[in-house]
């Protein structure tokens, strides 16, 4: 089923927010591509620009506060998203690409019944009439495991629990069988059984409709099970990317190691401290000419503080931006102890 057809290409994406203190450069030159039917996971530090990247793909960031720099290119299905006009955008959003937002409470219209909110895109993109749309909405709610879906379609968002709202968001995004689905932390509020079911659902969608999925998540468990490729982001940049296996087993970047090490070990009885990075991420307002991770990196070298490393290809798919990849650099071993889990 998998074809190699690229459905989305993002090149040199730069996104800034103009704030009172200066320009917050939230995304700094992100490149990636997405093929049909593929799942690309974004993991990374909180605040590193994952959601911003996702929103910029849909051109949802509003000027004048937010600015997608003109040098950025977003090509979706052969069309340049940056150049789309209003009408084209409406047709593009929701139909070709849809998004599950991170904040389910604030992302749902508080004065509209959830059913209606789902129906809205159905009627818009799948030309359903009211009745059909409503039936479909109920079906969608059932699909995301909301009990009593017939009743729940008439609920308002505030009457639902956090997880239910999130599932409504999911249902809404899935409603139109988009070609690309951007899921921004879709299962944070869901318990594991439902999470598993939702992931099954997305997998099914992917297989049936050949949907490409961008999955933003912190749950390495989910990533491990679900993603084809993983990109590790930090401070607006991609530090490492590769297939799931490459990232989990052969990661080269100290930040990736830190991430993997932070997960509590299963069955670990001792209540010892979890591994955690020290310090805080860099201020995104500052110009960064160094490796963004340098200040928190155990293996920081002199060069790291002077120059941003180039991306080094390890394999076709596995690329790392780290001075440690430099031939002159000392060889270090991952401190992430996989066997310990």
């Amino acid at each position: 089923m998998e074809t190699n057809e690229k459905i989305l290409e993002v090149e040199n994406l730069h996104v800034s927010f103009h704030t009172y203190a200066g320009e917050v450069k939230a995304v700094r030159g992100v490149d990636f591509e997405l093929k049909r039917g593929e799942t690309l996971a974004f993991v990374g530090e909180s605040g590193c620009g994952k959601s911003v990247t996702a929103k910029s793909i849909m051109r949802l960031l509003k000027p004048p506060v937010a600015e997608i720099k003109p040098e950025s290119r977003i090509i979706c299905n052969g069309r340049d998203v940056m150049k789309m006009t209003g009408k084209e955008l409406y047709a593009f959003r929701g139909d070709e690409i849809s998004m599950i937002f991170q904040d389910p409470m604030t992302s749902l219209n508080p004065t509209m019944k959830v059913g209606k909110q789902i129906m809205e895109s159905l009627m818009l993109h799948r030309n359903m009439n009211k009745k059909e749309a409503r039936e479909e909405a109920v079906r969608m709610l059932k699909m995301v495991n909301i009990p009593g879906a017939e009743k729940r379609v008439d609920n308002y968002p505030h009457e639902m629990s956090g997880g239910m709202r999130q599932r409504v968001m999911i249902a809404m995004a899935l409603a139109c069988n988009p070609k690309i689905l951007i899921a921004d932390e879709p299962t944070t509020a869901l318990d594991v059984t439902i999470q598993a079911q939702i992931m099954d659902l997305m997998r099914e969608l992917k297989e049936k409709m050949n949907t490409a999925i961008i999955l933003v998540t912190h749950d390495l468990g989910v990533v491990a099970n679900f993603a084809d490729r993983i990109q590790v982001m930090y401070a607006g940049q991609i530090l490492e990317r590769g297939t799931a296996k490459e990232i989990f087993y052969e990661s080269r970047h100290p930040y990736t190691w830190a991430l993997l090490s932070s997960v509590p070990k299963k069955g670990n009885e001792s209540k010892e401290e979890l591994y955690a990075l020290k310090g805080t991420p860099p201020d995104l307002i500052l110009p960064l000419n160094e490796c963004p991770f340098a200040s928190r990196c155990e293996y920081c070298m002199g060069i790291c503080k002077e120059q941003n490393p180039m991306e080094t290809s390890i394999t076709d798919t596995h690329k790392v931006s780290c001075w440690l990849m430099h031939p002159k650099a000392p060889k270090v071993k991952s401190f992430y102890d996989r066997e310990g889990r």
Partner: protein, 306 residues
């Protein structure tokens, strides 16, 4: 790629002292709003208009060379000219002097009235909305009663009881029910806000209701309150003229924009300038406050923050 010296590739590890680079001055919401407000060009224009007007209101009556109450029956109803820049009224009084003289009263009334009404109104509406239940029921019934008993009756009574023509009495009469409108609007909006999680969060912190109203609900209703204020200012300026109806308005020979407009009303077809100048002043006042209000609205909305 230029050659990089080897020593740059020795691991130095984490510099414990690094991190905290910046220590920007801490600002509060209001300070931030104020900062952005100052940067708003349109608001600046409005402020300049206002300052110019205030300048003339203070010095205008002296510039023209005429006393504002000086009757001259040789110069009745004259249009604007080099002698009388804004023309004269039906008693031959110099309108330039009168318009600025009138501004003193009108501006004070407009500003103080709107100020009092918005403060009382927001707090009252806030309390009613926040506590809800019986408190809301009783408070809103009081508003209903105040708004339903004919205002004219109330002010006539005030004028009879106090028998004083002070600015204070007038302001009391003006604001007596003037705050009810804002109270109702604010209450409506706050009912909506009240159920939001951040109010719940403040509640969980043990923040006192009055503080919740002042610090959370009112700032989030500000944009509405601002609109209400910009409407209230001309509203009060005109109401003052209305109050003279029951003998509470500003007393002759003092005058106000509202009074000037009312005076010019009957003959505005013949002497439109008599209406025009005070009218423009009221409009300019409202314009500058509308612009200021829009600027303030933007400044107070952090989402518009730049």
């Amino acid at each position: 790629m230029p050659d990089i010296p080897d020593e740059k590739f020795t691991i130095i590890g984490i510099d414990e002292n690094a991190g905290e680079v910046l220590a920007r001055k801490r600002i509060s919401y209001w300070q931030d709003a104020w900062r952005r407000f100052r940067e708003n060009k349109i608001a600046l224009v409005a402020a300049v208009i206002l300052i110019v007007m205030i300048f003339f209101i203070i010095f205008g009556p002296m510039i023209s060379g005429y006393e504002f109450e000086e009757i001259d029956n040789t110069a009745i109803n004259q249009g604007p000219s080099a002698k009388h820049w804004f023309g004269t009224d039906n008693l031959g009084r110099d309108l330039f002097a009168r318009v600025w003289q009138a501004g003193r009263v009108s501006l004070i009334i407009g500003l103080v009235g709107a100020f009092v009404a918005s403060i009382v109104g927001s707090i009252y509406g806030g309390i009613a909305a926040y506590f809800g239940g019986v408190v809301d029921d009783i408070m809103m019934r009081i508003v209903e009663i105040l708004l339903s008993v004919p205002y004219l009756l109330i002010v006539i009574l005030i004028s009879v009881i106090t028998d004083s023509k002070s600015l204070g009495t007038m302001l009391v009469a003006l604001t007596l029910t003037g705050w009810c409108g804002i109270a109702r609007i604010v209450r409506g909006q706050m009912l909506q806000l009240k159920s939001q999680e951040f109010v719940l969060a403040a509640n969980a912190l043990g923040v006192s209701p009055i503080r919740i109203i002042l610090k959370h609900m009112i700032p989030n209703t500000m944009s509405l309150i601002i609109v209400a204020i910009t409407f209230d200012i001309p509203g009060y300026i005109f109401s003052e003229a209305f109050l003279s109806y029951v003998g509470l308005g500003i007393q002759a020979p003092q005058t106000s924009w509202g009074a000037l407009c009312a005076a010019a009303q009957q003959n505005f077809m013949f002497y439109p300038y008599q209406l025009l100048f005070p009218g423009i002043m009221i409009a300019l006042t409202m314009l500058s406050f509308t612009l200021l209000g829009d600027g303030l609205r933007d400044a107070l909305d952090p989402k518009q923050r730049k």
